[in-house]
């Protein structure tokens, strides 16, 4: 565990060598600092999800509209590449910090209780609600990410028939048909569904937790912020799930 922590601190060691960054890195290396970065990267990734969902909901508008959108996006060229690198870095930071803080937490209690109960009210999920499932749901989301990139970025989804999306030279040109081919495949649709439920659980704790970590806690605002967090979490998960339902429904 200590060796793992040392490896995970390498980016911080590297960044602190850059002139002027050392004090910032030091402040962000404490438990509180790491949670700040978790919150900021998490909220940034939600920003990406919102944009991604908004784009994908154009599937409902039909083949022409969606393909026009996809073409426009791909025509951004290097800009899209920079955005993808930034997105990848944000994911890597979020995951790295998650493993780092989780290891510190494990080290803080090496021998556990014989009996442990919660003093809070009823939880829908066992063991203290969504907050106890962040690592599990996070891993599911990571697994999904790998499959999703294989399916729709590399067009190498396992068992998926992409012929409808190909042109005569065997190049994938029709994004609409590619999405439809993946989402209407029962195994892929099933995996996507399970992982999107995991995303909903992850965000339902993640959003409110990120706000609390960033210091947003006020009795006049708590109810509104928590409601917003819950609605956003399941709105995003539900929005993506609606695309699976649509693809399965329009299969024939």
């Amino acid at each position: 565990m200590n060796a793992l922590l040392r490896v995970l601190s390498l980016p911080a060691v590297f960044l602190s060598k850059i002139p002027g960054l050392a004090p910032v890195v030091r402040a962000c290396s404490t438990s509180v600092g790491q949670k700040f970065l978790m919150a900021i990267t998490g909220l940034s990734l939600i920003g990406f999800l919102v944009v991604h969902l908004a784009g994908n909901l154009q599937l409902f508008a039909g083949e022409a509209v969606f393909n026009a959108y996809a073409e426009k996006l791909h025509s951004l060229g290097p800009l899209l590449g920079i955005a993808e690198v930034g997105l990848f870095a944000t994911f890597a930071a979020h995951i790295g910090l998650a493993i780092s803080t989780a290891s510190m937490n494990k080290l803080a209690r090496k021998s556990s209780y014989a009996l442990k109960e919660t003093k809070q009210g009823l939880f829908i999920l066992p063991a203290g609600g969504a907050s106890s499932w962040m690592m599990v749901t996070g891993l599911l989301i990571f697994g999904f990410l790998v499959i999703h990139i294989m399916d729709l970025k590399l067009k190498k989804g396992f068992g998926v028939d992409y012929t409808a999306a190909m042109n005569a030279d065997n190049e994938a040109v029709n994004s609409f048909q590619a999405v439809k081919a993946v989402l209407s495949h029962p195994v892929h649709a099933g995996i996507y569904f399970v992982c999107l439920i995991a995303l909903g659980i992850h965000l339902s704790h993640g959003i409110r937790s990120a706000l609390q970590t960033l210091g947003l806690h006020h009795k006049n605002w708590n109810f509104a912020l928590r409601t917003l967090g819950f609605v956003m979490a399941w709105g995003i998960a539900g929005g993506f799930i609606s695309l699976i339902v649509w693809a399965l429904g329009s299969k024939s």
Binding site: A108, R109, S112, L115, T118, H218
Partner: protein
């Protein structure tokens, strides 16, 4: 509610010394009055053990009225037992049923090593306080009343944080063994009041640094600490600590 006398089985953690392995031992205790406090019940158990020639169970206690923060028992998996806003000494045996098995463990967190049986070493909290949980002002004579104006609301907020008795239930109940509720209460009580302003930025930075050095976990915002806190300190103070830390990190004068 239960009958006036209880017959209980107590599963108690016994550990002779810090680095020795511990184990649970079961003890039968009959005729426990429902009017007893939990600690009085343990006193009766110890009388019984002494009479049998066994070593009594070591447990921390002092004021026995919920203000000192010494008693620190994990009772049936809950810090200070099943009730909210109470310490182990304020818990009464009427909360238990006749024939029940009660599991009693020490706080479990690596920064709180077991000294013996149910007693843990909470010096880590003292070192966090020494890192910044104080004000260095020449107090001189007692100032005139109201010469330092503090709005009533802020007095109450500071008092809510100052209600922390430093028992460690927050650490014990947290799945990460995080000390954030304790540290945030100690940061808040001074950052809210005018006397705490001169050292405000360094206080939060130093106390967080010491908290990490002691090896406590990080805050996952489950609010289990707030539910377990006998002084009912709110996680609003954790948000305040986060704001204080962010401000100190970005705008501190040094």
């Amino acid at each position: 509610m239960s009958s006036d006398l209880l017959n209980l089985t107590l599963r108690v953690w016994r550990q002779a010394a810090p680095n020795q392995p511990g184990e649970f031992r079961d003890y039968r205790l009959n005729g426990v009055s429902t009017h007893m406090s939990f600690l009085e019940m343990l006193d009766v158990l110890n009388e019984q053990l002494i009479a049998q020639g066994e070593v009594p169970v070591a447990f921390d206690h002092d004021c026995r009225e919920g203000i000192c923060g010494m008693c620190s028992l994990m009772i049936n998996g809950q810090a200070h037992g099943p009730d909210r806003g109470t310490t182990s000494c304020q818990l009464h045996m009427r909360r238990f049923r006749n024939g029940e098995t009660i599991t009693i463990e020490p706080w479990r967190a690596d920064p709180f090593p077991v000294i013996r049986d149910l007693v843990v070493n909470r010096s880590a909290f003292d070192r966090i306080i020494q890192a910044g949980g104080f004000v260095s002002v020449n107090t001189g004579n007692a100032p005139d009343g109201n010469s330092v104006p503090v709005p009533g609301v802020r007095q109450e907020m500071a008092m809510d944080a100052a209600a922390c008795i430093g028992c460690g239930a927050c650490v014990a109940a947290c799945k990460n063994a995080s000390a954030m509720l304790f540290v945030s209460a100690k940061v808040s009580q001074l950052s809210i009041l005018p006397q705490g302003q001169p050292e405000r930025a360094n206080r939060v930075l130093n106390m967080v640094a010491q908290m990490d050095k002691e090896g406590f976990g990080s805050c996952t915002n489950t609010s289990e600490c707030e539910a377990a806190c006998p002084a009912e300190v709110s996680v609003a103070h954790i948000a305040r600590l986060n704001r204080e830390y962010m401000k100190a990190m970005l705008f501190a004068d040094h």
